[in-house]
Symmetry: C2
Amino acid sequence: MKPQSEADNMLKNVHGKVGRYDFLAEPFHCDFSNRLFMGHLGNHLLNAADFHSNERDFGMHYLNTIHRTWVLSRLVIEMTEMPVAYTKFAVETWVEGALRFFTHRDFKVEDALTGQIFGYGRSVWAMIDTDTRQPVDLLKVHDGRILKYVDTNKTCPINPPSRVKMTAAAEFVRTIDTGYSDVDVNGHINSVKYIEHILDLWKLDRYREQRIRRFEIAYVAEGHGGDRLSFYREQTTPDEYCVRVMKIEPNGGEPLEVCRSKVQFAEKNAPTEAE
Amino acid sequence: MKPQSEADNMLKNVHGKVGRYDFLAEPFHCDFSNRLFMGHLGNHLLNAADFHSNERDFGMHYLNTIHRTWVLSRLVIEMTEMPVAYTKFAVETWVEGALRFFTHRDFKVEDALTGQIFGYGRSVWAMIDTDTRQPVDLLKVHDGRILKYVDTNKTCPINPPSRVKMTAAAEFVRTIDTGYSDVDVNGHINSVKYIEHILDLWKLDRYREQRIRRFEIAYVAEGHGGDRLSFYREQTTPDEYCVRVMKIEPNGGEPLEVCRSKVQFAEKNAPTEAE
C-alpha cells in the first residue's frame, strides 16, 4: 500500500462523507523522543480539514470568492500514542454535525500501513464574513451543501471540548513577542503556533517522563503579528493544567484573552508505548 | 503528472545521482503574502537531503547503526520566487563534492508541473561520531560510497556560502528562551528554528514591501533546549544584513556563538513576481 501525497489526496475522495489523507511523520517535525510534535499533528489535522472541505466545495477556495472564511473555534486532540519519525499515518476526517453558526468536524489518526489507531480529534468551526468579521449562517453556502456530508454513523470516542475554567490562582509564566513567523495568510497568529507556544511552557524534563494524552484549545479572539502574548497557567489535577493566553497589542491598551487551553499529561510507560 | 508523496519519494530514485522529491506548499506553512515561509522551505530541503542519502545508504538510518551522524554546517537558499500556497514543487538534490571532512550538497527548487525554476540551494555537511561529538572521515563510510554519487555535471548557479563578517557595530536586537518546540531528535536546537527566529528580527512591514532574495546560515556550535539566545544584527548594504546568534546555557557562563547568518532582501516587484 502506497500512501498518497497531499497533492494526490486532493484529487480523490471527492464523493464520500469521510476524507482520508496520508502523511509522513517527518524527521524534523519530531521531538527529542523521536515522536511527532503535537503542533505538527495539529497542522496535519487542519490540512485534512482543508482538503476535505475544498474537495466538497465548501472549503476556503470557494469561500474566498464569496468573502467568507472558516474560523477554527476549538480543537481537541487525544492520543494513545504519537507516531514515531518516518511513520506513514492516515488522518480521516468527517463532519459530525452542522448548525447555523457552528460545525463539528472529527478526526481519526491511524497508522497508514497497519491501521493501529494513534488517536482522535474534534474541532468546532464558525464561518465569518471576511469584510465585517461577523459570524454568518454557514447553512446558506451552496444551499446547505455541508449537510449532505454530515456523517452520523462514524463515531469519535473521545470527550467533546470541555470548559477550561481558570481562577485567580492562575500563575503568570512568561511573555513573548509575536513576529513574522507567527502570522498566517489572514494576518492572524497561526492556530498551530499557539499550540507550540503553550507546550513550551513546560520544561523539557516534563516531556522526558510524560507525554501529552489530551490537548484542548479554544480560540477566543484573533491575535495579530506584533502582539505581545502573556501565558498564565493553573494546575487542576496532578497531570492536568489549564492555560490562558492574553494579548497586548503593539499600541498598548488593556490585555485581552486570545485563547484558553487544557493539557493532560500521562506517563510514558503506558502499554501501547514502544519506547 | 502526479506529484509523489514523501513516502513514495523514499521508494524511488535509488540508483541515480540526483534525487527528486515533490512537496506541497501547505497553506498553513505560508506567510501573510500567501508564499511559503523560508523556514519551511529549509525543512523541505533537509527532508530531500535525508531521503536522498538514506536511499543511497549513507543517510541517518545507516549512520545511526555505526554511531555516526550528519551535521549541517552551512545552508544557502537563493530564490527568484517563493511558491504560493497549494503549489506542487519539486526539490532536486545531489552531491556536488565530497572531501574527508565535508561534503557539498546542492538543491534546485522548481514548480513540479510547469518546471518554472523558483531557486537553488547549497549546503555543507560534516560527519561526527555521536559518542565523542568529534568529526570523522566521511569517506570511510561504506568504503567511500558517497563518491559514487558525486555529480560534477549538474550546475548550481548561485554563489557558494560567503563569510559572514560582523564588526563591533552589530546591534543587540532581542533575546529569547528556547524550549521544547525548538529541540530536535538529537536534543539540539532544530536548524530550521534558527531560521524562523532570525527572520523574526524584522518587523512585518519589511515583508510587506520586500521578499528574501538570499538567506545564508553557518552553524558554529550546537545549541540545546533551555539555552537563552541573543541576536545581534548589522546592516552591511541597504538590503543586506548580517546576524550573529549567541547562546547562554541554563547554568550561566560566557556567551558562545551558535550561528551566523546573512539575509538579502529584494523588492517584491521583480518581474518574476506575480503579486
